[in-house]
Symmetry: C2
Subunit: 436 residues, 2 copies
């Protein structure tokens, strides 16, 4: 077989060192383009300027920046989230892993393959550096966002990496919330990586290649796919619906509202350790929905539980989707139109000391369970400046069957909290400030 493959490699296929994804990228993007002339260019192709295409997925999201991308980036359509356990006790190995990951993240978010050779141009006698399934696909607005769990700083009382005294106090051990039924196998993790893209194949490719690079240093603890984002972070985006059929994210922080983003999302100087300045805190919750039970609830009942109309998304106190909630409005029988146990009321800043979250959740369907019920729900993701004052406070208000009426239809089965370091520039690596 050797000679025949050498023949191929020496022939029409792959001059060593040429990045294949970029070669194929222009064709891929062009095939996806709808209409023309919108001013976007295919990237990475030598003749990109000659072939303008209308596909925004061909324009990468900047990896470098003051903050990590994937937080205030308008939410992409697909998610692959992975939590890793670090399996080395060597600080040097951990640092080299973060360096290797950062290099690969730079490559992949730009729409390129990982590694020096790419998928198909390396020496034929070694495995390809890139696994190849994203060849020909555009960058698809891929973002990769990293966070560090409590166990990276100290695990079972052991300070593996000399980081114990650098753990921010904001990175709390989440308390038990009433009603939690957490499954340990899908909780925690030393490191989390959120891959968001408009194509699931691109998001899956990214997590797979990061997992592969981690070999011997970190292994995947759990991973989760999601689709159909449930939270809008840009005024330009239509509010998507969750699997209860309701618009989800109407009252979310809008990324155009920079003052609110500054106040509620980014850790700033003086908040905690300086290595987190410009970072943020990520909380994830895998929330299973009792879909079949919900589907037997009346329209009136569903709307009362949520506090919004199912069709328009407008509050039960009246008006369209973006009308402010009027908690004082009463119906003819003297009851609040937005019920006291409704989800929107209990989650609202007015009932949580003004606290707000930047949410970025994704619907998930993991097939069906053994009873034929959809194994489905919401992979809830939120970013914040201080989880103690934001997620924990709000979730304490929501949790328990005597609180949010929605709790009859949901179960929290997975949980994680992570400190996401600030962004990196065109050099440097994820979390460098933690190690220097």
């Amino acid at each position: 077989m050797g000679a025949s493959d050498d023949d191929r490699e020496g022939g029409a296929v792959a001059p060593t060192g040429i990045r294949r994804r970029t070669l194929f990228g222009a064709a891929g993007a062009g095939a996806l383009a709808v209409g023309a002339g919108a001013g976007y260019l295919a990237r990475g192709s030598a003749d990109a300027a000659e072939h303008p295409v209308a596909d925004p997925d061909a324009v990468p999201v900047d990896f470098a920046g003051e903050h990590q991308a994937g937080v205030t980036t308008p939410a992409q359509d697909r998610l692959h989230f992975a939590a890793f356990d670090v399996i080395t006790d060597s600080r040097d190995d951990l640092v080299s892993l973060l360096q290797d990951w950062t290099d690969a993240a730079r490559d992949m978010t730009a729409g390129n393959e990982v590694g020096k050779f790419g998928a198909v141009a390396g020496p034929p006698v070694v495995p390809p550096e890139d696994t190849g399934e994203a060849l020909g696909l555009p960058a698809s607005q891929l973002t990769l966002t990293i966070g560090f769990g409590r166990t990276l700083f100290a695990k079972d009382g052991k300070d593996r990496f000399g980081l114990a005294d650098r753990r921010p106090e904001q990175l709390v051990d989440l308390p038990h919330f009433s009603g939690d039924r957490l499954e340990p196998a899908i909780c925690g993790g030393d490191i989390a990586i959120q891959a968001c893209a408009n194509d699931p194949q691109v998001a899956v490719h990214a997590i797979r290649n990061l997992a592969r690079i981690a070999f011997g240093r970190a292994s995947v603890r759990y991973s989760q796919l999601g689709f159909g984002r449930t939270s809008s972070t840009s005024e330009a985006q239509v509010t998507p619906r969750n699997l209860f059929g309701f618009k989800d994210g109407t009252a979310n922080i809008k990324l155009e509202d920079t003052d609110t983003v500054e106040d509620f999302v980014w850790a700033r100087s003086g908040d905690g350790p300086t290595w987190m300045d410009g970072g943020t805190y990520l909380v994830t919750r895998k929330i299973a929905m009792r879909i079949e039970t919900w589907d037997r609830e009346s329209l009136e009942g569903q709307q009362g539980i949520i506090g919004r109309a199912k069709g328009s998304g407008g509050p039960m106190s009246g008006g369209d989707e973006f009308e402010p909630l009027d908690f004082a409005a009463n119906s003819r029988d003297g009851e609040p139109m937005i019920g006291e146990q409704s989800h929107v009321r209990l989650a609202h800043p007015d009932f949580n000391g003004g606290a707000k979250l930047l949410r970025r959740g994704y619907n998930f369907v993991d097939g069906s369970d053994q009873l034929g019920r959809l194994a489905a729900g919401l992979f809830f993701i939120c970013y914040q400046r201080d989880p103690r004052e934001q997620f924990v406070r709000i979730q304490n208000n929501l949790a328990g069957l005597t609180a949010d009426l929605m709790n009859e239809y949901i179960v929290h089965i997975g949980s994680g909290i992570f400190a996401c370091p600030p962004g990196v520039g065109s050099t440097g690596y994820w979390g460098e400030s933690l190690f220097t």
Copy 2:
């Protein structure tokens, strides 16, 4: 809560009888549109003609036709496949289920909600007829394709529905193939429904609502999500890649090749029972990939196993992707350039008595297993005129560790075979010819 909800329903939200998805459809489609002027129209909106948008997802795939849609329809990007067990022994209940399903399929493939009232316009005191999560989304080229399993005709020797003598001989019990490790919970099923769409939320919505309609008559046995189709059925589509990183579907039947489609896909008069004239036979295989093992194989090794170059997809005998395979070509050392145990050789019509399949597979990632490995692979779907001469013949050629070299990296864990009846017109129901 009652009065307040009544106020909402009587007010700004939902005049009874108006189809909400169509109301919201125009805005949703417009928000997704890229560029303008491509001549597509938003459907369902009263003023659609005034707001042309460029989104092909706004144009539904015809549900009515001689054949069912979803077979030779150019493959959409996303899959939700479900197998059902019929849980009634009443023939009348089975017929009514098929009628109800057909009505709902007509609605949903057109981009509408199911039922008379839609999601949010029915009486508030009963559950909404539609679950609502696709409100505002375009039709997204949704197709729904039904097939009947062997157990619908007779199960455990019992002829539940008086159909035993109508089972086509083509609907064989698939033999055990060498290497199979089938898990019974994800095999078989009385009825299969394939939902394909360009938006996973639309595909999930369809299966969910069909499962809900089936309550008391059929329940989901298993379901599977997939993405990034691995087989092209149109010359206009770029060949996608599977999770081995190789183009998959290069040699697939092209739908433009109508003679081949007629010869290999559609059951014709005289083939079997007349109720299947214009139908086709569906075989599904859930194929788990040993991703991490594959990723350690050299580029040369991977290409030798497949028989094609990873980058271009061209055969190892030379040429670009669509160059014919030259099985006689030898390398300098006298070995065949396309190895005798390569996948493309063993699957090729030349080595299978000319047999061809119309493939329509989807990549799947079900998260990670307990060892942190990707629970991933290919949900293989193929359509054919006679599985005995097509899938069974080819799979016998591929199966076993002494045959296709790829078998070291894959395991077949799920399996199904179904008789897909012909299409229905603007009236009638799925499988009507079987019951009359």
